[in-house]
Amino acid sequence: MKIPISWLSEFIELKVSPEEVAEILTMGGVEVENIERPYENLGELIAVKILEVYKPEDLKDLAVCKVTDGKETFTVLTTAKEQVKPNLIVGFAKPESLTFGFEKVEIKSVKNYKSYGMFLSSYEAGISEEKEKLLILPENSSPGESIYKILGISEIVLDLAITPNRGDLLSIFGVARELHTLTSWELKPLNFEKSLSLGEKFPGKIEILDPDGCFRYAGRFFGKIKVKESPFYIQKRLWLCGLRPINNIVDITNYVLLELGQPLHAFDWRKIEGKTILVRSAYPKERLLMLDGIEREFTEEDLVIADAKKAMVLAGIMGGEETGVSETTEDIFLESAWFNPKRIRKSSQRHKITTESSYRFERNIDPEGVIWGLLRASELILKIAEAQTYSEVIDVYPKPFSSPKINLPTQKIVKYLGFSVPSEEVEKILNKVGETKKTDHGFQVVPFSYRQDLKIPEDLIEEIARIYGYERIPSTFPESILYCKGPSKKLEFERKLRDILKSLGFSKVITYSFIDPKSLEKLNLRKEDRRLNFIELANPLTSIQSVMRTSLIPGLIETACFNFFREINSLKIFEIGKVFFPTNNLLADEPLYLGILLMGNANKENWYENLRKFDIYDLKGYLESLFKTLRINIDFKPYSSEPFLKKGASFDLYLNGEKIGFAGEIKSLILKEFDLKTCVFVGEINLEILFEKFERIEKELTIKRPPKYPSTFRDVTCIIKKEIKIGEILDFVKTLSIPYLEKVKCIKIYEGPPIPEGEKSITIRFWYRAEDRTLKDEEVNDIQDAVAKSIFNKFSAKPR
């Protein structure tokens, strides 16, 4: 809501500067978002000095002027041929600036002549109604200076953010009244001449057929009006508030809407069939061509103003094209009403139209303001549109509004605020918001009709706190029992997980929960894949954020791309976030997933080792470290069934036989689709399952004493066929039930000469330890000999 200080001052004497007024409003709950200077916002409207004037023969109606703004010299074309002469200082708008008439100034050319801006009339500068004459500035003005500075003209406009509960502040008068409440500065009351309420007999009929939609409907007839341009002061005020002037009648309705917050609508009397005005719900599929040029179809839930034959207006929202006021209108009917805010809001949403009028009706207008608005507009129509006759005021008001009686016990104020506002202050404040009576235990308040937001005692407590001043209420600490719960085990688990990954060098990213369905397509998923059964947004901002993610992988790959194209050649990232799957009810299944990604180089350029790319053993190693730290045993089963991973470099991850995720290298073909010319490894794990296991393990955890006696190791080195996997050998070793064996590990693999092609040399180390003594060499040798023999036999191994 834009509040010009000059307009506001008509209702209340402002005793401080506009900045201080803004501070008072803001601290009273009416936030001033901006202090605007609309003239300055127009752009560079400056003084220029005319140096030379030409009237070339090939330009009929134009003169070419050479002018200076004090710095540069340029040409300007003007139709005011007779008015321009050298040495004159005139008002001028530079290209890109705006004129009062909402015109954007541009560089123009006519034939070979260029105009670098335009000369302004007083009207175009927003100074007076003078349209024909150029704005001539005093001789001593310096070229280049703002015309408003030269003329000493300034307007300050407060831009207020009005909260939805305070419809009463959507007007100049409403803000003045609020300032009065906050400061006690004197408010100038609205006064209307008595005769204005009277008039000739109304020449038609008004009826409310839908009393749920319309609580009050008032109006009157005006005869023989003159539709023309509004006087300058009306135009200027509309402009200051950001509205465009149209004609005097429309401008007056807008003027009163801004001034008093009462929306009005003017009908062309001629177009009202049967001179009957009906407030009714629309007929199903009833249509109306509206003022914005769009024809809309209504439902029975919409409220319309109709005549004997047709709908004329979508009530409280927007009028129809046909019955609106035009240049040829002679008689009008002026409506001032109070519609049901809920009905207006629903219609406005159904048809996606918000107007100054619907905005106010939705937020509750003052039921008593209906008549004030009508009278104020009458005053202006008589004066400005020169109406010759006018009717009585018709006021259909079946069930007059009455405010609730709110009982407010004093003790409740104290308990709620934790502070006792002095009783006389409380009474003074309550008197500002309604009729207040003292009762045995506190107060009874009947809020003023414009304060329909006040319904319950808590609302009044807010008024007390607000008007007394939030800043004046002390701050204390709550008293409460000491008992409290820490973060849940699951949050702790998540924290542990990310701390481990962080120390492994991974950075945590956060990507959007909504993704491009195409990014899932790119992953080459099979048709029946659950991840293609995603939840779609009904109103996405863009198609690339239109479905809820079913995997973290697309977001991670996007992040890899973003970094890759910014010269990041080594990336280790992870994300912990929800993925979303549909269920049978409204809510989704939202499991928490972990995604990790490695891209490019495994190390940075350095002096002690060669650069190398990440490989599958890096990914596996990181995941192993993670699971080991969590003490969870995960099986890495080659090969993954994920269609976007290179089969030969992938695993599915299993926990007690249940698949909890996958890990592997992304296929080059898929990376190509993302233009990623590097290697990318990813892994994804369902943390819900992992967490369950973790919680159980945490509970069962016992700590062993470190061994007392030394261990000893023996190696088996042999040559085997290349295809034999180390895992097969280790699995075989497990079946041997070897006594005292503590651990087994492959510690060396070698291929190449002198080992024959198709074979490899391996070394497997066995560590032995007894809990209660130091093992003897001979004992271990005997065990190891048997083990070696079994391995040699089983895998047809040859000694090295």
């Binding site: 936030e31 901006n34 909260t163 939805p164 509960n165 305070r166 805010p341 809920k342 809001r345 629903k346 939705e362 605020l417 934790g418 502070f419 808590e458 609302d459 407590i461 807010e462 706190a465 939030y470 209420i473 002390p474 701050s475 204390t476 600490f477 709550p478 008293e479 409460s480 000491l482 409290c484 719960k485 820490g486 949050l491 924290r495 962080k502 120390s503 060098g505 950075s507 945590k508 990213v509 956060i510 990507t511 929960s513 909504f514 939840i535 947004l537 009904a538 109103n539 901002l541 992040t559 973003f562 990041i568 929800k578 979303f580 549909p582 409204l586 809510l587 989704a588 002096w607 002690y608």
Partner: protein
């Protein structure tokens, strides 16, 4: 006289001892005086021909000399060995070490952690909940019926099945109250969504919600807790102010501003010349909200607050484009180590 000889020997020994500089000199010194054919050994051999008294006396003297010398040589050897290790090792210590790089947590994660810790210290339990919500939890139960203009304050993403992406963390107030019995204290961090995208608005962002319900918890207490919070996050000297505001689910409602951290209240680009930065919204829980969860408003009252994590991060770190949080540029992330 043999004893004169010994005196001479002693002098010789100690003066050449002083000259020992390295292990080889030390070894030749040891051989020269203490070896099998060494001078002390030779003197000891000479003693056997002397009278008993003299033999005893000189023998003792020589043995003492030998012992002392051995002791001194051991010390000397240790001294030299230590010195040896201090010599130039031929290393270029200007080279960087073999460092490992540690990852970073996302700045928003760090802020969420910090805020959760602050409120945990005040006994608030950290809870989380669904991001896909129903109209009921997101709006209706929070006293925002479907015709309410307050719905305009939050442009909502709807799903095709009629559910929605929560527009704030406030539904967690309802969920937490339904799951628990009063008194309670919770904070609920998480992602929220609104149809809005520019350099100040992201369609996905983070909030943290707080709720305290107790018998006497008051508006003054709310102020106290929020001031504590602001000082913990922005520093002890942070100035705050409270402005009346409006949220359908609180009454009275307020917004808290902190003095602009950039210009210290003088007015700048960040705070838009106001000198104050809006940090959070809060208020006393509206009776309609308590009604929705069946809490008796004769006994229980409480306060709730909610704030944007991105906003806190942007103010704290002077970030002017919210989109940077979700681009995840590695260099951006790493600046929050």
């Amino acid at each position: 006289m043999i004893s004169d000889e010994i005196e001479k020997l002693k002098k010789e020994i100690w003066s050449s001892f002083e000259k020992i500089e390295d292990l080889s000199q030390l070894e030749s010194f040891r051989i020269k005086y203490l070896g099998k054919k060494g001078k002390i050994t030779s003197f000891l051999k000479l003693l056997k021909d002397l009278p008993l008294e003299e033999k005893k006396l000189l023998g003792k003297e020589l043995n003492e000399l030998k012992d002392e010398l051995e002791e001194r040589l051991r010390e000397k050897e240790r001294e030299i060995l230590f010195k040896e290790e201090d010599k130039d090792l031929g290393l270029d210590l200007t080279l960087p070490g073999r460092s490992l790089s540690i990852g970073t947590l996302h700045p928003l994660t760090q802020i969420i952690d910090e805020l959760c810790q602050i409120f945990s210290r005040l006994g608030f339990e950290v809870v989380t909940g669904p991001e896909i919500e129903t109209e009921y939890y997101n709006f209706t139960a929070l006293n925002i019926p479907d015709w309410h203009p307050a719905r305009d304050m939050q442009a909502t993403f709807y799903l095709k099945n009629g559910a929605l992406l929560r527009t704030h963390t406030s539904p967690m107030q309802i969920r937490a109250m339904l799951e628990r019995k009063p008194p309670l204290r919770i904070v609920a961090p998480g992602k929220v969504y609104r149809c809005d995208a520019d350099i100040r608005h992201s369609p996905m962002f983070h909030q943290i919600e707080g709720l305290m319900v107790d018998r006497n918890v008051s508006f003054s207490d709310l102020k106290g807790v929020l001031i504590y919070f602001a000082k913990e996050v922005f520093g002890e000297k942070t100035k705050v102010r409270f402005r009346p505001s409006y949220f359908p689910f609180t009454e009275p409602s307020l917004e808290m501003d902190i003095e602009c951290v950039i210009c210290k209240g003088r007015g700048c680009r960040v705070c838009g010349s106001a000198g104050w930065l809006e940090i959070l919204g809060a208020g006393m829980v509206h009776p309609e909200v308590f009604k929705a969860v069946n809490y008796d408003t004769e006994i229980w009252q409480g306060f709730a607050f909610g704030l944007g994590i991105e906003r806190i991060a942007m103010i704290k770190y002077g970030i002017d484009d919210i989109r940077m949080f979700f681009e995840n540029h590695l260099l951006f992330l790493q600046s929050f180590k």
